[in-house]
Symmetry: C3
Subunit: 271 residues, 3 copies
Amino acid sequence: MTTPRSAASLLEVLRREKPLIHHLTNYVTMEFSANALLAVGASPLMAHAPEEISEIISIASALVLNIGTLDNDWVASMKLAIIEAKRKDLPVVLDPVGAGATRYRTRVALELLSEGGISVLRGNASEVLALAGQGGGGKGVDSLHAWSDAAGAARFLSQEFSCTVCVSGETDFITDGSREAKVYNGHSMMTQVTGMGCVATSLIGGFHGISNDAFLATVNAMALGGVCGELAAESATGPASFRMAWLDWLSRIEVQQFENKASYEQLRLLS
Amino acid sequence: MTTPRSAASLLEVLRREKPLIHHLTNYVTMEFSANALLAVGASPLMAHAPEEISEIISIASALVLNIGTLDNDWVASMKLAIIEAKRKDLPVVLDPVGAGATRYRTRVALELLSEGGISVLRGNASEVLALAGQGGGGKGVDSLHAWSDAAGAARFLSQEFSCTVCVSGETDFITDGSREAKVYNGHSMMTQVTGMGCVATSLIGGFHGISNDAFLATVNAMALGGVCGELAAESATGPASFRMAWLDWLSRIEVQQFENKASYEQLRLLS
Amino acid sequence: MTTPRSAASLLEVLRREKPLIHHLTNYVTMEFSANALLAVGASPLMAHAPEEISEIISIASALVLNIGTLDNDWVASMKLAIIEAKRKDLPVVLDPVGAGATRYRTRVALELLSEGGISVLRGNASEVLALAGQGGGGKGVDSLHAWSDAAGAARFLSQEFSCTVCVSGETDFITDGSREAKVYNGHSMMTQVTGMGCVATSLIGGFHGISNDAFLATVNAMALGGVCGELAAESATGPASFRMAWLDWLSRIEVQQFENKASYEQLRLLS
């Protein structure tokens, strides 16, 4: 575990340390998350059987939970994973896919947060608003709001659950209660590929696996995904060639190139 | 909900309205269906937990059911989804993957049809023959028959279950009892990519989500998939680059280009 | 069923006979396995419901089991599939993903092997060592060992369970107790794509579906995957374009081209 100062150096550490990132995630984007983590240099593992969660947590560097295709069996395994992660002091990242779209998803996401031990929560504006009890609901899993609508909700959730909250969108807003950042990188084609949000959450897990600083890990992950989106858009002729180029760039991008293109503002709050 | 006259104008409406299409589909092709619907302009949602089906149906524009990797839990959720869809008058599209290959699949597909409320049934010739009780079975999930072998079976099923039936293949045959169409678009490389049939069903769901006319929605979806197949084949060097180009074309194709390339015949029957 | 002499002629038979390969495999790589088998000319089928396993086994040419995202329900279906496969004398190929990483995976893989009837076991060195009781465990699903560390373990398992064992890695080592081979084909980019091991297992299933000779089927599958990896690397700019090119080459490669590029050594042992 190290906490380098710059985005670039954190990427270097990730590629060198190849952290194992345990996922309980949805059926739709499992493969995309696994390939993104391999591309960036991490080692993904998808497993949900209660019989093996404890052992996997003991060898993992971070845990990613994603409720995109949840059901009660998977939720039970996720709760077990949180308990084990807390015991081993493992970073946990939660993606509350579709919170606000159904009461079941809102309830489950809040139950997972209430277990304690969630280090980063990443959702779109609609999901974050819903979890803060301010939501009008999204349209299924897509957001109807901009980040700025959800900044207050993010700050509230950050306090309530003692975690970093990331509202992703055209601009990403990240707060941990004492620091806030806005990440400007990204490209509109990212909204045309299924699972870009889920994979962003997986990348946060990747960076968090090599840094205890949840805020810094989140900023870096969001910036890297966005920068690769900008690079991928240069060659893409549609969403599928964009997706391919994006994965290639996760693997190809040089540390200095990432440093040069990362565009974010950070603010240290008075506390 | 609108029912424009031409294929091209229906595609325009789809891209503008971005209908939410709820799926209970198989593990293998979930991601492909999701990306195809995003590419064409719709909004996919995959969810199977009984706790949330009713709420999702209430915000969705169409429901797609696909039994590619069925088991009893998923079938129970599908039946629940049909009941909710009927209550809300939501279009339902069924893909009876592998009907005829096993008695379990044939039985489940017929049970789902017997619930009532299925608006479109899309299968290959072997599947349609099996459901009409005329089948010799397919070879797993691939068809051993041409559309013409199954035209009578399609007409029978259309009457029996008051739905549009599409027999997909090199030529697609579509009947709703009072109208029939043949769609000639497509390319042989489509048979080398897993889930092209499943995704065709998802596209039908997409068009049906913005048009009450099940027959027209089906003709448009099959023509669009076929036209994009022809375009994709121009640049592909194998099935994977074909798949990528096909998804890109779903997103890139201009309305006029689709209109020019769509190749189908339609017949209004005396009733 | 035929057993041609050379790798090239076995590929010809595969493309001509299009064997149906039944899979009970993991959620992450199902689609990749399906597309790889279609590309090489086989016909994949993924199904796990106990209600239909017997019928599918009766029409399939081989069975592939993969415990990548196992749970007790799936394991029960796998055991049922083995019993049916033994009754019908169907070749069974097992991929013990993550054996050694958790006791659950090691135990399940050994239980499946103990059912008898497994014809080929393919894993990385860490998995093979773990199953032979010599393991220090892998890092999740990735191997920490080279093939040579696991050659003895492979020979032991081959005797113990009367099967062909393949230790895949930079060099692949294959033994059936009386013959041994090393396959040198492959490319380092293969380790950056999720599921390349799983898909290798599926390709073994494909070749085994048209040849009773498990050893020969395994050598051919590993060589073909490796040769296509070398060809794909020529055009790839990262892991995603590599994956696409690899699938395209599975479909495009000519029999003579495969013959020329395949690089392996074979030894007949005294028995």
